[in-house]
């Protein structure tokens, strides 16, 4: 069995189209790493006296500021940050209070403080709200917006703050948005797996395989497993590449800070107790589920196609359809359900954020979308796997 799987993997990996697509994927990976890891704003900084830093120096600077506030993340921490910020960078602070944009080179701990600084006309807004019979939450004694207003996740236990830039960029570059490495990775999986069965038909190897002792049982399993292993290898490989790049550039500082305090990610309202390290592992899990799903469905299409090319076209269409439909649909249950399809699921940030929205069917069930995705992947593997198995077994080698 192992030998068969090895041969199937060898077949997949010696296909020049697959090699080419992996090369393109690595190029995209390199570009994303360039943008998110080596050239991100986390690798540039400006000190209070106006000195511009870059590279390691800048990273160390950001990390040293973040470390000052490491620990419980409370309204007091925020007040301390705001006051430090206003003292060190008065001009930038002034811009922020006026609602203007600030330099992205500021210490990352200060970059998102605007969300805690009330607008100048806060009193007026409060009075207007009162007049209309509603109320808006009161400010803290330091005159800031309380973190309590951003979600219920931290009612009993304070969140942990720590350096988060590198984790945020890792997550964004890997799976935190549509344009992340996960999407092209799935396309490479489609390209490779779409040939798994169909290439045997077009190469006229089907007859030889099907008369062999294991040709109608174990070999099919070996092919399906090889497809899954390939998918896992691609996604795992990219994850390892990312880990190495980010590890070398940023180290592991801040791994145990809560993802909610990683303000650049806008995950404050997400009611899941994950730290930064767990967040990227969660992202990996989601992308892996999507990869397995994609591999299984593509293998099934491959088993019922005549040529690798038609299999590739159909697989690609089937992969993209839920993505397109979801973009056309208005918000609603169907749109939320389409999230389980790989092309949509790879956006792990959305998987986390959906339950925060009151309109969503996942509302207040922070784990529900992830569980649905995992469940869908298991169902896809079982059903598509069975169908592929039957299709190849009963294939009529009629020439």
């Amino acid at each position: 069995m192992l030998r068969m799987i090895r041969f199937e993997l060898k077949k997949i990996c010696s296909d020049s189209v697959v090699i080419g697509s992996i090369a393109v994927l690595l190029l995209i990976c390199f570009l994303i790493l360039q943008a998110y890891c080596f050239g991100s704003s986390a690798a540039s900084a400006i000190t209070p006296d106006g000195t511009r830093l870059s590279g390691r120096e800048a990273i160390a600077f950001h990390q040293s500021i973040a470390e000052k506030y490491a620990g419980d993340f409370t309204d007091d921490t925020i007040a301390e940050m705001v006051s430090d910020f206003s003292a060190a960078y008065p001009a930038e602070y002034a811009k922020m209070t006026e609602g203007g944009s600030v330099s992205s080179w500021l210490p990352s701990s200060y970059l998102y403080l605007a969300m805690f600084i009330p607008p100048a006309n806060y009193d007026e807004i409060a009075q207007d709200a009162l007049a209309e019979g509603t109320s808006i939450p009161p400010l803290t004694e330091d005159g800031l917006v309380s973190i309590r207003d951003y979600g219920a996740a931290y009612a009993d236990k304070p969140l942990q703050y720590g350096y988060g830039d590198s984790w945020a960029y890792f997550f964004m570059g890997f799976c935190g948005q549509t344009i992340a490495i996960a999407f092209p990775a799935l396309i490479v999986i489609i390209i490779a797996v779409s040939a798994v069965f169909a290439s045997e038909y077009s190469a006229k190897m089907d007859a030889l395989i099907l008369i062999a002792r294991h040709g109608k049982n174990r070999l099919i399993l070996a092919k399906l497993l090889a497809a899954m292993i390939f998918a896992t290898g691609i996604i795992g490989g990219l994850f390892i590449l990312f880990s190495i790049a980010f590890g070398l550039q940023y180290g592991a500082v801040g791994w145990n800070a809560d993802m909610q305090t990683n303000l650049g990610l806008s995950l404050m309202g997400v009611n899941l107790p994950l730290n930064n390290l767990q967040l990227i592992l969660f992202g990996f899990g989601i992308v892996w589920s999507a990869g397995i799903f994609t591999a299984a469905v593509t293998a099934m299409i491959s088993a019922v196609s005549k040529t690798p090319f038609s299999s590739l076209i159909v697989s690609f269409a089937v992969f993209m359809a839920p993505w397109m439909i979801r973009r056309l649909l208005p918000e609603g249950a169907l749109r939320d359900l389409l999230l389980v399809f790989p092309a949509n699921a790879v956006n792990a940030a959305e998987v986390l954020r959906l339950p925060v929205s009151a309109a969503s069917i996942y509302y207040d069930q922070p784990l529900a979308p992830a569980l649905c995705i995992a469940f869908a992947a298991v169902v896809a593997v079982l059903i598509a796997g069975t169908l592929a198995y039957r299709a190849f077994k009963d294939h009529q080698a009629a020439g």
């Binding site: 041969f7 190897m205 007859a207 030889l208 062999a212 002792r213 070999l219 009529q396 009629a398 020439g399």
Partner: protein, 288 residues
């Protein structure tokens, strides 16, 4: 050991490729003879269980092969008429791959593969990619592959196509030594191959089995129907258009024609001893 075809029928849409074939195979070498499109390949695929019969069944030792499944597959070897190989595999890897599909353990697979490469004169190129092989080399690799699992039933669809005369002779003697106690079914257009190796001959025409039996028995059929005529000019042309001519040569400005015909083609015709080629022409004259 016995392989039985029972009213085996295969239809593609409304085209009947094989029509109620009945036959029994016991150990020995069987040659399938038939024109292009006669149904030889279809018959072999049905016997290999990679094509579902429209009706009828193939039974091995009394059990339908569809029910035997893996147990049947582990005792057959099959060489398809044409197949792809994997151009990027080496000859050795190709055999090892087939061996893994046939469930041979790794050590035995390696030993057997090397042995077969040696037998088929491919040892020197065992680590070369198949895409660099000539047609005959691929054919030999294809035949080698069928023998990996030491099959009880060997099905070869045009095994000698593309082999040069020397390799054909080698193949025949190899097959002879291998076929001891085995059922070997092969098809070919090269009548002499069948003549030399087959114990029994099956003549298929338009999907039906016309004849099955030893060469001498079958030839009885056309005994007295093979003629040799000497004719000149117009007379020779007339004979060629009216009768199935197996061969013609020139002797002393006259044409010597070998003709298969139920009736005596011309007054001067003399009867000749039939051979398989005559038989072939007798049955397929309108198609060849």
């Amino acid at each position: 050991m016995q392989l039985t075809l029972d009213r085996l029928t295969k239809q593609y849409g409304d085209k009947t490729a094989l029509d109620r074939i009945d036959a029994v195979f016991r150990p020995g070498i069987y040659g399938l003879l038939g024109a292009n499109g006669a149904g030889k390949t279809t018959l072999m695929r049905l016997v290999c269980d990679i094509l579902k019969p429209t009706s009828g069944e193939v039974a091995f030792n009394g059990t339908n092969i569809r029910d035997l499944g893996e147990r049947y597959r582990s005792v057959i070897g099959y060489l398809p008429q044409d197949f792809g190989y994997y151009p990027n595999f080496t000859a050795m890897n190709f055999l090892l791959y087939m061996a893994s599909l046939k469930g041979l353990n790794a050590g035995y697979a390696k030993k057997k593969s090397l042995e077969l490469l040696e037998t088929f004169g491919l040892f020197a190129v065992k680590d070369k990619k198949i895409k660099t092989f000539s047609g005959g080399m691929k054919r030999r690799l294809g035949i080698a592959q069928t023998l990996l699992n030491n099959p009880q039933i060997l099905i070869l669809d045009e095994p000698t196509a593309g082999l040069d005369p020397k390799e054909r002779v080698k193949f025949r003697s190899l097959l002879r030594s291998f076929a001891e106690d085995k059922i070997v079914i092969l098809s070919t257009h090269i009548v002499t191959d069948v003549e030399y190796i087959a114990d029994e001959i099956l003549v298929i025409k338009g999907g039906t089995l016309l004849k099955k039996g030893a060469e001498s028995t079958i030839l009885q059929e056309i005994a007295g129907k093979v003629w040799e005529c000497r004719a000149a000019g117009q007379e020779a042309e007339r004979l060629e258009t009216r009768f199935a001519v197996c061969s013609r040569k020139r002797e002393n400005g006259e044409a010597v024609l070998r003709i298969v015909s139920d009736e005596k083609p011309c007054a001067a015709a003399v009867s000749a001893a039939p051979c398989l080629e005559d038989l072939y022409l007798y049955y397929f004259q309108r198609e060849v």
